[in-house]
């Protein structure tokens, strides 16, 4: 109890964050239940493929979180370049870190599903290409940040790098799309050569919505924690510098 009250003294967001954490954990429990039990089977699939289809909810959920991470990095970087306030840079950095985790989950869950559905873990489909390149850019971004001692230089250069990443990701998608695509487009239905696709029933649609909301909540819970942590780190460094002087 004493640690708790001390934490709330120094950080007024601590209690609300704790509540938000609880909501996110609860939401993820609901997503897991809905994805595995509540959602109906895909009637046009059979056997292993029918079971494997359920990974779709986690795949799309992670994808939403990874997308939020990508948007966060762009918004944070533009915000920093315009305002020159370190808070924006912390949002960008935290978005990338958490976006990377979810990006890797998207790739892994996709590969696990693709083996029964496409009979291969990996193919150079535009979405797969773009997702893997984006994760690699994120990893490069983190390594890049790591090598700067001066916080302001780090923020400036990382923002510039994020701008180029933002430009190259859609172009990667379009260039890879000029090659043939086999990824199912579930919401548009327009991909003739897609394999492993299925029509969405009512319980499946509800589960999908839950997954998107649940993963978004989880993303924001992790993001808030990481941003808060980075803010503490910066404050600690500032205090340290003052002490050394």
């Amino acid at each position: 109890m004493s640690t708790l009250s001390r934490a709330t003294d120094t950080d007024r967001w601590f209690m609300s964050l704790l509540v938000f954490d609880a909501i996110a954990v609860l939401a993820m429990a609901v997503v897991t239940w809905a994805g595995l039990l509540y959602a109906g089977d895909a009637v046009n699939l059979a056997g292993v493929e029918q079971v494997a289809q359920r990974i779709f909810y986690f795949h799309i959920g992670s994808n939403i979180a990874a997308l939020l991470g990508f948007l966060g990095s762009v918004v944070g970087s533009i915000g920093y370049l315009v305002s020159r306030r370190m808070a924006w840079d912390r949002w960008a950095a935290a978005s990338v870190e958490i976006g990377t985790v979810f990006g890797i989950l998207v790739l892994l869950s996709g590969a696990i599903w693709a083996k029964p559905a496409w009979n291969t873990y990996w193919t150079w489909d535009p979405r797969l290409t773009t997702a893997s390149i984006t994760v690699l850019i994120y990893i490069a971004y983190m390594l890049f940040r790591n090598g700067f001692d001066d916080a302001e230089t780090r923020a400036r250069f990382a923002s510039v790098y994020a701008m180029f990443a933002f430009l190259s990701v859609p172009l990667t998608y379009y260039s890879a799309r000029l090659f043939r695509s086999i990824h199912p487009i579930v919401f548009d239905g327009g991909n003739e050569e897609a394999q492993g696709g299925f029509a969405i029933g009512p319980t499946m649609g509800q589960t999908l919505t839950m997954a998107m909301i649940g993963f978004a909540l989880l993303f924001f819970a992790l993001l808030f924690h990481r941003v808060r942590q980075l803010a503490f780190e910066d404050r600690l460094n500032a205090v340290q510098e003052r002490v050394y002087e």
């Binding site: 370049l81 290409t129 700067f148 510039v160 180029f164 172009l171 260039s175």
Partner: protein
């Protein structure tokens, strides 16, 4: 006004496009002259490119029935890797010799420094590519010296040099320096690489020029966006020396 010395007149940054291009040219000429004396970059890049062509020959010759299947990839991989080798010297040598501050204090726009350096790098790349294409012809018996491949290679190199020069400036301030450059550069170059390989394959497969234009379009768009963003952000990089 007649009292202004030459340097002051340049510092006032007047004179429109022609004067701007003269400043770009001054930076490029400085780099090329330093390169002609030190022979640090082009020789290493060319040697690496030829070596890589031989290594790819050894790696694929025994396993691939028709070299046309792999040569587009080989061409672009070699350009990509040889380029990284040369690019980091663009600012690396300035940082090592402590001349970067002098360059930044010179009375020219930051964008002119960037463009001048990019122009010098473009020249190095084109020299290396001019050696690489005949080497691939000899080693793989595949003729890449076709107008559209040359166009794609030129446009791709322009975009590569644009991003590469800027990233070389970014990483020159980083502790990891040249180790980091390929890691940050290669994923951002993915659209260029995919389009370059796609374009080269279309020509080698004789699929007709109609299929070439989308690839040229993507590469051209990439180039335009790269230089637009570079112009917007180049001042951010050297805000403080």
């Amino acid at each position: 006004m007649a009292e202004l010395s030459g340097a002051e007149r340049v510092r006032s940054r007047e004179g429109g496009v022609a004067a701007y291009l003269r400043r770009v040219w001054a930076v490029a000429e400085k780099d090329v002259r330093a390169e002609m004396r030190s022979k640090e970059v082009v020789g290493t890049m060319a040697a690496f490119a030829l070596l890589a062509a031989v290594v790819f020959g050894l790696a694929f010759d025994l396993r691939v029935p028709r070299p046309e299947l792999v040569v587009p990839g080989i061409l672009w991989v070699i350009v990509l890797f040889a380029g990284v080798l040369g690019l980091h010297r663009s600012f690396g040598s300035e940082v090592e010799r402590g001349t970067l501050a002098g360059l930044l204090l010179a009375p020219v726009e930051r964008s002119a420094i960037f463009l001048g350096k990019a122009a010098a790098n473009l020249l190095y790349f084109l020299i290396v590519e001019a050696l690489l294409l005949p080497a691939l012809l000899i080693l793989f018996d595949v003729n890449l010296i076709e107008p559209f491949i040359l166009l794609g290679l030129f446009l791709g190199t322009v975009g590569y040099v644009g991003v590469g020069t800027l990233f070389a400036a970014l990483t020159s301030r980083n502790r990891a320096k040249e180790t980091l450059l390929p890691v940050v550069l290669l994923p951002v170059l993915a659209p260029l690489f995919i389009s370059g390989v796609g374009l080269t394959s279309v020509i080698l497969d004789n699929r007709g020029t109609a299929e070439v234009w989308p690839w040229v379009g993507i590469i051209g768009l990439y180039d335009a966006l790269v230089f637009a963003i570079a112009f917007l952000l180049v001042d951010v990089i050297w805000e403080q020396i």
